[in-house]
């Protein structure tokens, strides 16, 4: 292991996003009251695939490493030690070794050791006796051969090939370390962690309560005495609760742009921010069946999109246009503007694009007298339905008559997975702003989440090439090339990347809303209340 480096030193180089001096010395105490948008299915982060679980339960846990909580943009540079003291890559980039902190205790008093790290990742890789009910991020560890331990305070990840992005995946809010001695079933109902807050109770549809961990290994933290999440599914009630002062904070990135105006008018002192959530609204096209097995029709579909209209209607202008990777400045891997605009359908002249689309449709045998009828399948919730309606309207201009096919939530992904659709409108969230997570999950041949069955072996090679590339600048160029190709192939046309609002009362300090993921910023150990 040649390039071992103490990340504590690197952490010191990072500039905190807020000015501690101007915010004052953190005060101890107080219960942070937050409303929660819905009742999570369980308390087990590893078994969930929604940030409804991360927000209330991330404070219960620690990762090996994490994204620095007061730096808004997640990047390799913002990764800091958590349960690990330091880490290092082997020279061949195929072994990642963590030195672990000593003296850390689980909330039930048992000591944390490297065995817990091995247990957690063996379970995630499906190698242990104990199994998760569901394991949605198993594919994150496809390149990990095994996790080995060396004594109680060292754990190593051996990889099949170099994958520098593994560290970013380990820093996600989705990657806490679980205790060996607590079963997955218990972790769903009574989670035990090492984190700044201990689990107190989870009453379904009612509340989630956490209390301060007085034995937290990070001295002086957390500042709060506890956190209480009140589950309020009705958005109007929740916002009124915040406005009336019943809550100190809204559910993060859950305030829509129109509602944000309401909040600002009724609670002018509230601190509100609008940030990207790294969730793209996109079109899924079943290219294995007519009519979309015809590349001309797929290209026409990509050309018809007036993305600015979507942004303006749905988000009052507060959303971003880009490719697969989250657009800059929030996103780290977005194509440069000129490159993006060179992709068919992204150019500023919508009429010219549509003229070209009409020609492609005519070439495929469609025209004003022979229109193409398609069903546009989507989930029966507004954030899916609303863009689908706009899409149907826009497609009319290229002789396509869309019929909205709303699908019950329980049936949406099973339907999409069995390719029982022709054209669909989908939302894709990315937990980590890293191409490995996005490309392999959504575009790799045979991936469960590659709903469109897009499979291009040439691109596949590029996926691996970028994944192994250590040089960030070189990797970026590869990623841009791949992203451009994906858009040109109409693999999954991206319409927009949404932004959402978060608000908190002015006395709440130390909140940072991440700008390129809505899954990683909820440790709340350095949040405090100035009252």
């Amino acid at each position: 292991m040649g390039s071992v480096r103490a990340l504590a030193v690197a952490a010191l180089l990072l500039l905190p996003a807020y000015d501690v001096a101007s915010a004052g010395e953190p005060k101890q105490g107080g219960i942070l009251r937050v409303y929660h948008r819905d009742s999570p299915g369980s308390a087990s982060i590893h078994e969930g695939a929604t940030f409804s679980i991360n927000v209330p339960f991330m404070p219960v846990f620690n990762n090996l490493v994490m994204y620095k909580q007061d730096v808004p943009q997640n990047s390799v540079e913002s990764i800091v030690p958590d349960l690990a003291e330091s880490w290092g890559w082997s020279d061949d980039g195929k072994k990642l070794t963590f030195k672990l902190k000593q003296g850390v205790k689980w909330h039930d008093g048992k000591p944390f050791t490297s065995a817990d790290v091995k247990c957690t990742f063996d379970m995630l890789m499906g190698k242990s006796q104990q199994k998760f009910r569901q394991n949605p991020r198993k594919s994150w560890y496809d390149q990990v051969n095994e996790v080995t331990v060396n004594g109680d305070f060292e754990a190593s990840f051996s990889l099949k090939r170099p994958q520098p992005a593994l560290l970013s995946l380990l820093a996600s809010g989705y990657t806490p370390v679980y205790p060996c001695h607590v079963s997955p079933a218990d972790m769903r109902t009574k989670p035990v962690g090492t984190g700044p807050f201990k689990f107190v109770e989870f009453k379904a549809n009612e509340s989630i309560k956490l209390t301060k961990n007085p034995d937290y290994f990070k001295k002086g933290l957390p500042h709060l005495d506890g956190i209480e999440f009140t589950i309020i599914t009705n958005r109007s009630t929740a916002i009124l609760g915040f406005v009336s002062g019943k809550f100190d904070m809204t559910f993060p990135t859950e305030v829509s742009i129109p509602l944000l105006k309401e909040v600002k008018s009724q609670a002018p002192n509230a601190v509100c921010v609008v940030e990207p959530v790294n969730v793209s609204t996109n079109i899924i096209v079943n290219s294995s069946a007519p009519p979309f097995d015809n590349i001309d029709i797929r290209r026409a579909l990509a050309l018809v999109l007036d993305r600015k209209a979507f942004v303006s209607i749905l988000y009052e202008g507060q959303a971003d246009i880009g490719g697969t990777m989250l657009p800059a400045p929030g996103g780290l891997w977005a194509m440069p503007k000129e490159m993006l605009e060179s992709i068919p359908g992204y150019g500023p002249d919508v009429n010219a694009n549509r003229e070209e689309a009409r020609k492609l449709m005519q070439k495929a045998g469609y025209g004003p007298d022979k229109r193409l009828a398609v069903k546009v399948a989507t989930r029966n919730i507004p954030i899916y339905r609303d863009p689908a309606v706009i899409l149907i309207d826009q497609m009319k201009s290229i002789y396509v008559d869309g019929d909205l096919d709303v699908v019950d939530t329980a049936q949406w992904f099973p339907k999409v997975a069995r390719k029982d659709y022709s054209l669909g409108l989908n939302l894709t969230g990315n937990a980590v702003d890293d191409p490995d997570q996005s490309f392999y999950e959504n575009y790799s041949c045979g991936s469960e989440r590659n709903y469109t069955n897009y499979c291009n072996r040439e691109i596949e090679k590029l996926f691996d090439e970028q994944s192994m590339e250590k040089d960030v600048a070189k990797r970026k160029k590869l990623v841009w090339e791949i992203d451009k190709k994906l858009q040109e192939d109409v693999a999954r046309p991206i319409i927009l990347h949404a932004r959402q609002g978060s608000c908190w009362q002015p006395y709440v300090k130390g909140i940072t809303i991440m700008v390129n993921s809505s899954y990683n910023g909820y440790r709340y150990e350095d949040v405090w209340m100035d009252k």
């Binding site: 009630t237 406005v243 002062g245 997975a417 469960e448």
Partner: protein
């Protein structure tokens, strides 16, 4: 009378068995189960994991076997486990019942205590300004959806008092405890009160035209005695019927009201359980509601006989 009561009780039992079958079958006819929903969030379905989970939850058993397991459990007081919280269903349902029962009782009380006197007033002063005003109020009560009324109350409360009367499990004062239930009860009971008012009014108008009312007046009975002792007593039967039916229908209004006022009662819990296809919770809760409705109907029938001595059953 005794034979009638026994017959009604047997009929209630048969009805409940029928309802249990319908609930059970309908729930399973609805597309998707909890496994689909759990995996939905993950964005894909791994067939092996799905099959394992279905086996763990007993969803792989034949439907009749699942039904027999449920009924067998019910007879032993075992309602099964919630698929979502993995806690005993009884433990999940029981604490929520008093919350909804309090809310429902207050709503019904509000409905009767406002609806009946105003209905009488409206009928007695037929054609007057008061009558027209009360008719407008009752019409608006029937037209305003309770969720809208609830939100309006919340907005007004925040705007005027800077306070929001949503549920708090640990109210500081008894007035706060009362407000937590009274305000939503008014929101949900307003429609019911309006209906009661209209039924009371029309029933009273019919009775007030009867010969015996004229006779009572001719004998010099006071207006209050005529209206309340002679007329209302005879006009009340259809009102009781409506209140009985409203008690059954109240659950629909409570779902919305509990959601708007964020009250962790049975009604909102039922909707959430349905969303997750949490069969043990849904089927036991719907059964509970069915029992309440059947018992409410039975009680109303019994009340008829108590209020109107002319009514006799089974003779």
């Amino acid at each position: 009378m005794f034979a009638y009561i026994v017959r009604r009780l047997v009929l209630m039992l048969v009805t409940l068995i029928g309802i249990s079958i319908i609930i059970f079958v309908l729930l399973r006819v609805v597309p998707g189960n909890i496994v689909d929903i759990l995996f939905d969030a993950a964005g894909f379905v791994d067939p092996t994991d799905k099959a394992n989970l279905e086996k763990e939850l007993g969803l792989n058993l034949p439907i009749y076997q699942q039904y027999l397991n449920w009924i067998g459990g019910l007879l032993h007081g075992d309602l099964g486990y919630s698929y979502v919280s993995e806690k005993p269903a009884l433990q999940e349902i029981l604490p929520r019942i008093p919350i909804t029962a309090r809310l429902a009782a207050l709503a019904l009380l509000f409905s009767a205590s406002i609806g009946i006197p105003l209905g009488v007033l409206s009928a007695v002063h037929q054609g007057s300004r008061l009558d027209y005003t009360l008719r407008v109020v009752s019409l608006s009560g029937l037209s305003l959806p309770s969720f809208w009324l609830g939100l309006l109350i919340l907005m007004a409360s925040v705007s005027l008092f800077g306070h929001m009367p949503i549920y708090n499990p640990n109210p500081a004062t008894w007035t706060e405890a009362f407000a937590i239930y009274a305000v939503p009860a008014m929101a949900v009971g307003f429609r019911s009160a309006a209906l009661t008012m209209r039924i009371t009014r029309s029933s009273m108008l019919e009775i007030l035209r009867q010969d015996y009312i004229r006779t009572a007046r001719a004998k010099g009975a006071s207006e209050a005695s005529v209206n309340y002792r002679h007329a209302l007593k005879n006009a009340i039967l259809p009102v009781i019927t409506v209140i009985g039916i409203e008690a059954a229908f109240l659950i629909g209004g409570l779902i919305v009201t509990e959601t708007v006022f964020n009250i962790p009662g049975v009604a909102r819990f039922l909707v959430e359980a349905l969303r997750w296809r949490d069969y043990p919770i849904v089927q036991n809760l719907v059964m509970l509601i069915a029992v309440v409705v059947v018992v409410a109907n039975f009680t109303v029938d019994m009340l008829y006989a108590a209020i109107d001595p002319r009514i006799r059953y089974g003779d």
